[in-house]
């Protein structure tokens, strides 16, 4: 009886069931708080035609950027992209589609998706290209557009520590989109730095309760820094 034990011992097991043309939500902001080993596993599997929902698309050779190398991504839904030459090239060639979404709207779309809310109204993007073709309504004298929630076949999430039940905590700003991503996957896979015994994490300090998590794997992280700035070298 596995009970609530969600720990898997291999990346193959962690990403089992991922198929071509699926949608994957990935946590992370830039290269901070990204599920490095799960992304590497998707590359290894060669799954293609993917729609990837993530704030950014990594850089050349790291993060989600490595999924561009074999053209595994069909469409990106992001707020800011183009930190990588390969991304730009595939976009200009028409090999890659991008749906630019305001950052707060993207976070809220994931949150709503995970919370069973199909759509919401926001002032963000009203009167701009983002609002074109979307339903708008006026509430108390202000105009809002309707934005639909996002869910995915898989959510890949990075946390600092988790127990076997999938209860987890994030570290510093590596939290970012991970808590919302965790709620919005049909299958949510959590890659963590450390798996601790059940009962070790203080219940009131848990960021994401295990109910949202289907699989947990312990990874090794490079944690590459995108822009190193120090108070001397700034």
């Amino acid at each position: 009886m596995a009970g609530f034990n969600k720990v898997v011992s291999s990346y193959e097991e962690a990403m089992a069931g991922l198929q071509n043309n699926m949608t994957v939500i990935a946590g992370g902001f830039g290269l901070c708080g990204i599920p490095e080993g799960l992304i590497a596993q998707i590359k290894k599997m060669g799954t293609n035609g993917l729609t990837v929902v993530s704030n950014n698309c990594g850089v050349d050779g790291f993060g989600l950027g490595i999924l561009l190398e074999d053209k595994q991504i069909k469409k990106m839904i992001s707020s800011y992209v183009g930190e990588n030459a390969l991304f730009e090239q595939q976009l200009l060639n028409g090999e890659l589609e991008v749906e630019l979404t305001p950052q707060g709207t993207l976070a809220e779309k994931m949150r709503a998706g995970g919370a069973g809310i199909p759509a919401f109204f926001t002032a963000t993007g009203y009167g701009t290209p983002v609002g074109e073709g979307k339903e708008s309504r006026n509430f108390n004298g202000r105009d809002y557009i309707m934005e639909e929630a996002i869910t995915a076949d898989f959510a890949i999430v990075k946390a600092w520590k988790a127990d076997k039940f999938g209860n987890c905590i994030y570290r510093h700003t590596a939290m970012n989109f991970n808590p919302m991503a965790a709620t919005a996957g049909k299958i949510t896979v959590l890659e963590v730095e450390e798996i601790v015994d059940v009962g070790e994490l203080e219940p009131s300090q848990i960021h994401t309760p295990g109910i949202y998590i289907d699989r947990v794997i312990q990874g090794n992280f490079e944690k590459r820094i995108e822009r190193l700035v120090t108070s001397k070298g700034a």
Binding site: F29, G104, Y126
Partner: protein, 218 residues
């Protein structure tokens, strides 16, 4: 003389009040953090999920898990809090952030702003800019008054795709401080040594000049 980037940032910092929560965009707005008056406290919000952004780390403090919205390594100040992107944008979109300062390509007399997309050039995305202009209580736009070819960036109507509509009330350029209201730019201050004529010449949208226009104190 037109203001330098640092001088624009110095003038921006004069707008802050004690106890303000402030979000600073990339570029000139970020520089404003260096000029916060010593007798007030402001707390910087970074939209990737940090309220209370501190200085850049010393080499031995660098932590890959501590970055700002520009993806630079940072530290947290004393009294900081860290949270998710949804929480971060709830405070932005819910109007809890007192000030946001951001750059722009164009602003018009309706208070609309274009800052994220130039058709024909590679479009990288709006990041959090659309949320910030829709949500902050006070928005200050910093930019040069005219582009390198001398074309005004203060227009009757923006020509580029918009970031937000009817949301900008204050603009600080290298030449002037302006308020946007009643479908016009109201000149409030001019840069030291800059004439009203020069500002008029470089403002394409309707400019209102009322009474004496003081020089900025930098």
């Amino acid at each position: 003389m037109a203001l330098s980037r640092e001088q624009i940032a110095m003038r921006v910092a004069q707008e802050f009040k004690d106890g303000d929560y402030v979000n600073l965009g990339i570029g000139i707005p970020t520089l404003a953090a260096n000029y916060v008056p010593k007798d007030i406290e402001v707390m910087l919000q970074s939209e990737n999920g940090l309220l209370g952004m501190g200085a850049y780390p010393h080499e031995d403090e660098v932590d890959a898990d501590m970055i700002n919205a520009g993806k630079e390594t940072v530290t947290a100040s004393k009294g900081a809090s860290i949270f998710s992107s949804a929480e971060s944008f709830a405070m932005i979109r819910g109007g809890h952030v007192d000030f946001t300062v951001l750059g722009a390509f164009e602003v018009d007399v309706n208070g609309s702003i274009a800052s994220w997309m130039i058709p024909g050039k590679l479009i990288k995305g709006m990041g959090g800019a659309m949320d910030l202009v829709a949500g902050a209580k006070n928005i200050i736009v910093t930019m040069t008054h005219a582009d390198k070819r001398g074309n005004s960036k203060l227009l009757s109507a923006c020509t580029l795709p918009l970031t937000g509509v009817n949301c900008i009330t204050r603009i600080i350029t290298d030449l002037a401080v302006l308020e946007v209201k009643d479908k016009a730019f109201y000149l409030r201050e001019r840069a030291p040594g800059v004439s009203i004529e020069e500002i008029e010449e470089k403002t394409a949208g309707k400019l209102v000049v009322e009474g004496d226009i003081p020089e900025m104190t930098i």
